[in-house]
């Protein structure tokens, strides 16, 4: 049987994402990549934590951050993490339409999150908090912007994946790809949990 063939309920494996050697390799390789990403974000977090008080004449985090807006963004991303896990459940049951539906919801929530983040950044720039205004500004936009870039890349990724496989059902070739995207998206949410806590909530208490 060919890895590109549509799976039927009769021949559907328990773990379609790991049913081939290629799938197993992708699964493990991506997890290891996420381990490396952890260090990447940690370096950005460390830089931010080292420099977060250095706002000079510009506004401090305490003056800038609007918690309700960030709380809303957090809820959007958290919910999108849930919908992507629903999509993985559909994947395991060979329900391709339901998988597509949940991933589209994920995608829309991700777009909503990005919209809020862009709105927030524009607002900050008007307040005099820019990338070049101080060490705090540079570190803030690097950390939060890196995360935003990850969200954007995820949106491009899932869009391509859905469009390419729209009429193909679930196959042994695309099941690992869906699964990997879900892992990626959860990881992006994990990073955000720390950004919410360390940057925004801790920013309010100094």
């Amino acid at each position: 049987m060919n890895a590109g063939e549509r799976l039927t309920d009769a021949n559907f494996p328990a773990h379609p994402e790991k049913a081939t050697l290629e799938g197993k390799n992708k699964f493990l390789g991506f997890w290891l990549f996420l381990g490396g990403e952890t260090v990447l974000f940690a370096t950005l977090f460390g830089t931010y934590l080292g420099l977060r008080k250095m706002h000079l004449d510009g506004p401090s985090g305490e003056e800038l951050f609007s918690l309700p807006l960030v709380f809303l963004a957090t809820m959007l991303l958290l919910t999108s993490s849930l919908t992507s896990v629903y999509a993985v459940l559909s994947l395991k049951q060979n329900k391709v339409r339901s998988l597509q539906g949940w991933f589209i919801v994920t995608l829309l929530l991700g777009l909503g999150f990005l919209g809020l983040e862009i709105y927030e950044f524009i607002h900050y720039v008007h307040e005099g908090h820019t990338f070049t205004s101080s060490a705090f500004g540079s570190a803030f936009y690097s950390l939060v912007g890196f995360h935003g870039a990850h969200v954007l890349f995820g949106i491009l990724w899932i869009s391509t994946l859905l469009a390419r496989n729209w009429n193909r059902g679930i196959t042994l070739a695309n099941a690992p790809k869906y699964y990997l995207f879900a892992l990626y998206w959860h990881f992006v949410d994990v990073v955000w949990v720390f950004i919410f806590t360390v940057v925004y909530l801790m920013g309010k208490v100094g």
């Binding site: 049987m1 060919n2 890895a3 590109g4 050697l21 197993k24 390799n25 493990l28 390789g29 290891l32 990549f33 381990g35 490396g36 990403e37 260090v39 990447l40 370096t43 950005l44 460390g46 830089t47 080292g50 420099l51 250095m54 706002h55 000079l56 990338f131 070049t132 101080s134 060490a135 705090f136 500004g137 540079s138 570190a139 690097s142 491009l156 391509t160 994946l161 390419r164 070739a173």
Partner: protein, 614 residues
């Protein structure tokens, strides 16, 4: 089983540009790394010529700074690491009985990213001058430099580093998922183990460097303020990030050399490696400790006695697993039937040389003493003893050892021994006097010294040594040319090998093993030889073999990064967007073009076996 007819055989240049075969990528890494090794070596000899006599005025000031920066950067990132990756690619899958690496396509991406990154960095020589802030690029020296040299450094290494990270993940997954039946973790050859641990270090050390380079790039190109004290920044952030990467990098370099030495010593002593499990444990422990010691590069920063003491003790602790290795190599030779081939000579030369580098390392790990040694030639002597005396001797040993497997020719032993003695004697002549130069107060990275300070003699000897090392390398080149024109191919097992890479005919078939071998113990080929079989028992019947298709996309993806690199260096956003757009397009093409590879028919495999080609 459906087969795919999309496979077309490519030949010549196109074959090399599109290959995803780990054996060919290994050769590409070795060639490109070897080329950069010659460039880095030339830069070193030019520096030694400048320092041969006091008050010399051949390569002064800025030019000297460029030479020393490019020598260090090239040797670490563009010579040593790619040559290591060359051996890992060419040998590691064979040693574990795999048909390929886990991600052949990503493997090609990794190579081309390294190649274009290295090219970008070296083009700086012709485009306004090379970087001159040292290979460590400390801020604010690197952030205030006016010309584009440091931009080439940041962008070139960022691109090459992305390729390295991809390679690291690839080898980790290969080792975990693709071992042949019976090849348990505790039966893996030491080179595979060392490569596995090195890949783990790459995975966790390189992301820090990636961020460091981003910050430095933002600082230079987009006027960020991470390292600018006037705007609230702090230069120590760069120093920490660089060494959080930089110290594991030292172990990334030396562990594969340990692996090579273990293979060579065991093979040419005709003995099983002494204390195999202790060797494995020591390798893992060195890898772990490698992450906990970076502050010893920053003892003189003034982090205080507590921090310095903690990191001093951690640093000294590394001497313990390293000592275990040294003793195990000696005990492996003890009572063995030693054959002093060129590979073995390099391995035997490695052991005392590396011990000397290790001893000065322990001296440097004492913070109080380090205040004296810091930034002197003593440090230069130390790290050249571990990197040249350790890593490079190990790589030479591996080259002579695995050359028949990689290139189907045996290198000439007489020339090999000339190569060894010239290089070995040259090495000690170059770097041993530098210990004294350092203790007498000669600072590193300074382009001249005055006469009458008792520095003349040692510097002169040092330069003579460097020229001998250069001659040794030229002998190697001659040897390679002679072997390439030799008529007869190597036999499949010229050294009476013990591990799986010697179980196939030469040239190695593109699918490596016609039938996946069954591994029945440590040193699997030796096990079969003593059992009277002489060759591996297959673990599966002859069947169709699935192969990945070649692709030109890795080349264009990396070319896109190369173009984008220029865009960022010259702050030309159109070029940057075109380059990054090219990268995205190749990624998009890769994901929408279905490519399930192709199959080699059972009949072809059977014909290969019958004809002695598999």
């Amino acid at each position: 089983m459906a087969t795919h007819e999309s496979h077309k055989k490519r030949s010549g240049l196109m074959d090399w540009l599109t290959t995803v075969d780990h054996k060919k990528i290994g050769i590409l890494y070795l060639l490109a790394g070897g080329f950069f090794f010659l460039i880095g070596g030339l830069e070193a000899i030019l520096m030694r010529i400048q320092l041969m006599e006091p008050d010399s005025k051949i390569f002064t000031g800025e030019l000297y700074n460029q030479l020393l920066t490019m020598h260090g950067t090239t040797m670490i990132f563009l010579a040593a690491m790619p040559i290591i990756f060359g051996f890992m690619n060419a040998i590691l899958p064979l040693q574990i009985g795999a048909r390929d690496v886990a991600f052949p396509y990503v493997n090609a991406v990794g190579f081309w990213l390294f190649f274009f990154g290295g090219l970008l960095l070296n083009l700086s020589w012709f485009l306004g001058g090379a970087p001159e802030a040292g290979w460590t690029a400390y801020a604010p020296l690197s952030t205030v430099a006016e010309d584009t040299g440091v931009d080439f450094y940041v962008l070139g290494l960022q691109i090459a580093g992305a390729g390295t990270l991809a390679g690291g993940i690839n080898f980790l997954v290969t080792v975990i998922n693709m071992r042949a039946p019976g090849m348990t973790f505790m039966r893996m050859p030491l080179f595979t183990w060392a490569s596995f641990v090195t890949s783990g270090l790459i995975l966790f050390a390189f992301p820090a460097l990636t961020v460091g380079f981003f910050l430095l790039m933002f600082e230079r190109v987009f006027d960020a303020n991470f390292f600018n004290p006037d705007m609230g920044g702090n230069v120590l952030i760069w120093e920490h990030i660089f060494w959080i990467f930089g110290h594991p990098e030292v172990y990334i370099l030396i562990l594969p050399a340990f692996g090579i030495i273990s293979e060579v010593v065991s093979t040419f002593s005709s003995k099983r490696l002494f204390g195999y499990s202790a060797m494995v444990f020591a390798t893992v422990l060195i890898g772990f400790l490698g992450f906990m010691v970076w502050v010893h590069h920053m003892f003189t920063v003034g982090l205080g006695p507590v921090a310095n003491s903690i990191f001093a003790v951690a640093t000294m602790a590394i001497a313990i697993p390293t000592g275990v290795k040294i003793f195990n190599w000696i005990f492996t030779m003890w009572g063995g039937q030693i054959r002093f081939t060129t590979a073995m000579l390099f391995a035997v030369g490695f052991i005392p040389t590396f011990v000397m580098g290790g001893v000065t390392g322990v001296m440097l790990s004492v913070p109080a003493a380090d205040y004296q040694y810091h930034d002197s030639y003593f440090v230069v002597a130390h790290f050249h003893y571990v990197i040249v005396g350790g890593l490079i001797l190990g790589l030479f040993s591996g080259l002579y050892y695995w050359y028949p497997r990689m290139f189907n020719r045996v290198l000439n032993e007489t020339l090999g021994k000339i190569n060894f003695w010239l290089f070995f004697i040259g090495f000690h002549l170059t770097f041993f006097p530098q210990h004294w130069l350092g203790l007498m107060g000669m600072p590193r990275r300074v382009y001249t010294y005055m006469s009458g300070q008792q520095l003349d003699g040692s510097n002169f000897v040092s330069t003579i040594g460097a020229i001998l090392m250069g001659l040794g390398t030229i002998v190697l080149l001659i040897n390679i040319v002679i072997s390439a024109s030799a008529k007869h191919a190597a036999t499949k097992d010229p050294w009476d090998g013990r591990t799986l890479e010697w179980a196939m005919p030469v040239p190695t078939p593109e699918y490596n093993f016609a039938q996946t071998p069954l591994v029945r113990g440590l040193d699997p080929l030796y096990v079969e030889k003593t059992a009277g079989n002489g060759e591996m028992t297959p673990a599966e019947p002859v069947g169709e073999i699935h192969m990945p298709n070649g692709s030109i996309l890795p080349f264009f993806l990396s070319l896109g990064m190369f173009v984008a690199g220029f865009g960022f260096i010259y702050a030309n956003w159109i070029v940057a967007i075109v380059g990054l757009g090219g990268v995205l397009v190749t990624m998009f093409l890769r994901s929408v073009i279905d490519d399930h590879g192709y199959h080699i028919h059972k009949k072809e495999v059977e014909a290969d076996i019958k004809g002695g080609r598999a």
